[in-house]
Symmetry: C2
Subunit: 419 residues, 2 copies
């Protein structure tokens, strides 16, 4: 039996035990995990420094190295996040749609853990703790596979997790880590449908595509945000410029930041110069289509003509694609063709336009006069965020604890037969 | 562009239009479809007789030919089923979890169609109408691929569907059919994730496995029921025998019928002879493990020793696997290893045993003192049944209209930025 098959079998077994753990057992476990993160920092930081040295020797850039870096503050923040999870309601066990049928059969849908999650992620070591804590809070087992740049940090964190599990008298195989950094193991994990119930990829487009193409386990795809705002002719110009500025500039490196602004041709002459001036102070590079370029070129702003891929690019930086459209139908059609169905919005004071946009744009989050930056588990009041799904089955948009559960139907009667 | 790519593109476009169709438009469409099925029977039956003749010439067995056969009664029943769908609530547009966040952002989850369904099914032509009507009621487009034995019947039914769509002024590409019966086309459909949002296979284990292994589109697996009842020591013997009899005999050819009975060793000596006598009247063949065989062999019943695959076989016939287990833990463990997670139940008067079983057996439907035959959309009061899912993401157990929808988050504010 392959290593991964053994891990899968152990994870499934651990999942059975976790599924019947009480909320207080699970919260005690999380408390122990937070304690471990605060008390055993020397060992974690020593392991992390090996990763950091290797990264420096490999010539990784500063921002990547910063993502790998752990320090006391960061470990304390991770521990505090774990403790905050204790405060959240445990979704497991909730019953919905309970009813007694005409024949006397008492039927209910009970929320239960999914079972075993497979999570594939890239550099940041904090994801290891984040995912482990979310999985355990919802009674799920998990098999993790992090980036090779953080292998030492991740294994040190796994030790803390395992110690907490043992101390809480829960199965230590509840969270397992694939230590072999060979990429072939990802392929094996994706075929482990006998034991793994859900794959969550957390990384770039390539990783998501790999999972979609190779996995026999259901995959939650998402995290890629090619986000649009359409400034309709009836929008409030000054307020709309603030929304566009916020969506682009407030935190450009994340998936819900703005990538493309579509401007109605009726207001382009007025809006674009004002917008360019507002964005110039943050040194935003505009990539403009031909019509927008003719307005922006003479102005004192950074502007370039668009290139072929620009309508399908998630910038994750201070770059913004600008296109002029003739009407709302053109805007909706552009969004349907180019959006990653993450977060798209309209800026308008027209009720009809807002309704039409909301009805016809089918993205995970659709906004009216609101920054796309709000698509986020904590902003949405979910308490936690596992991932942002841009697919349509199971969960859409920010996924919280509930989205790590499924349900079973329970039927109870006094020896009822079907006639 | 391949034929299937063109179909996918058309289906996506039709889905956009259907998504904003009103409930009365969709009900009018269903009414026209039912009318077509009643009024245009000559053409449908002529096409069907070509399929029947071909099946007879190919030497298909009687029961398969019966599944292919259409006649006036069957067409009228199909039309009546379509009309009944009009009476059901349209799930599209319902908003849940609406709230106003502290910052004033008004947020809601709105139920919307999934988009485009791909459905792959085997012999019965009634599935064509069934799936088309369910998809249209929920505002989804669909691409269908039926068995080659029913190609003429299906194409005749497609004509009726298209005529109804045109008359209702809805896009005729809302329901498309893959006319080419080459199996390679199934492979192409499964890779059409650019346009298709969900694959529903309706057929045997081989078809489901093909979809799981090849599809890049999320798949709803299910329909395979290896169902168990565990007769615990504290059960009411006579009533338990009636439940087992009902679950096995009432309609053995369907997925929720019983396949394996697990009998507690404390009651095996008493229960098995009574059970054998009750099942003998229906000529049920028992496949018994060694311990059960020693009890059953001397009795006047049809009994054989179990073979290797019997614990993992969905009988779909009057055969029942019988195994003696030492306690509830052994029963749960057996079910976890062999169940297809469709429908499993316990027979007991012990509250503790019932609770334990319900908590530890994680199947789509878990029963206490109830026949497994109840796992069914209409029995569960869902009004309709698209499929029975045995996977854990999206939907579990009988899937009704709601399970053909997803949701989008809608955020509305007065030009709110994230700080």
């Amino acid at each position: 039996m392959s290593t991964l098959n053994v891990m899968g079998q152990k994870a499934q077994q651990a999942g059975y035990e976790l599924a019947t753990a009480t909320t207080s057992q699970k919260n005690q476990l999380l408390t122990l995990l937070a304690k471990g993160l605060k008390e055993k920092q020397t060992a974690i930081l020593a392991a992390n420094s090996i990763d950091i040295t290797a990264a420096q020797e490999a010539g990784l850039n500063e921002s990547l190295i910063d993502r790998l870096l752990l320090n006391e503050d960061r470990l304390n923040a991770m521990a505090d996040d774990v403790l905050r999870l204790c405060q959240l309601d445990d979704p497991v066990g909730e019953e919905t749609e309970s009813k007694v049928l005409e024949n006397g059969l008492r039927l209910s849908k009970r929320r239960v853990p999914i079972g075993v999650m497979g999570v594939i992620y890239e550099a940041r070591p904090n994801v290891t703790i984040d995912i482990a804590a979310l999985a355990l809070k919802t009674g799920n087992a998990a098999i993790l596979r992090g980036g090779k740049e953080t292998i030492n940090s991740n294994l040190a964190l796994l030790t803390i997790i395992e110690e907490a599990l043992v101390e809480a008298k829960l199965p230590s195989a509840a969270i397992q880590y694939i230590e072999n950094t060979d990429r072939a193991l990802i392929g094996e994990l994706l075929k482990l449908d006998q034991y793994v119930d859900m794959i969550i990829p957390r990384g770039g487009k390539g990783l998501h595509r790999l999972c979609v193409e190779q996995s026999t386990v259901p995959v939650i795809t998402g995290g890629i945000g090619i986000c649009h705002l359409y400034a309709q002719a009836d929008c409030d110009l000054d307020k709309s410029i603030e929304i566009i500025h916020n969506a682009k500039v407030q935190r450009p490196s994340v998936c819900n930041s703005l990538d493309v602004v579509l401007v109605d041709s009726d207001i382009a002459d007025v809006l674009l110069p004002k917008l360019a001036a507002r964005l110039a102070s943050d040194d935003v590079l505009l990539k403009a289509d031909e019509r927008a370029l003719s307005i922006l070129k003479p102005l004192a702003c950074r502007v370039e003509p668009i290139e072929e891929e620009d309508f399908d690019t998630e910038w994750l930086s201070l770059t913004l694609t600008v296109k002029i459209v003739d009407d709302i139908d053109a805007a909706i059609s552009h969004i349907r063709n180019h959006s990653s169905q993450h977060s798209d919005g309209i800026l308008t004071n027209s009720l009809q336009s807002a309704e039409k946009f909301v009805n016809q744009v089918n993205s995970a989050a659709v906004y009216v006069n609101t920054s796309t930056r709000f698509t986020d588990g904590s902003q949405f009041g979910l308490g936690a965020e596992v991932a942002v799904s841009t697919q349509k089955l199971h969960a859409r948009g920010p996924m919280g604890l509930k989205e790590l559960t499924t349900y079973k139907w329970i039927g109870v009667s006094d020896y009822l037969v079907r006639t």
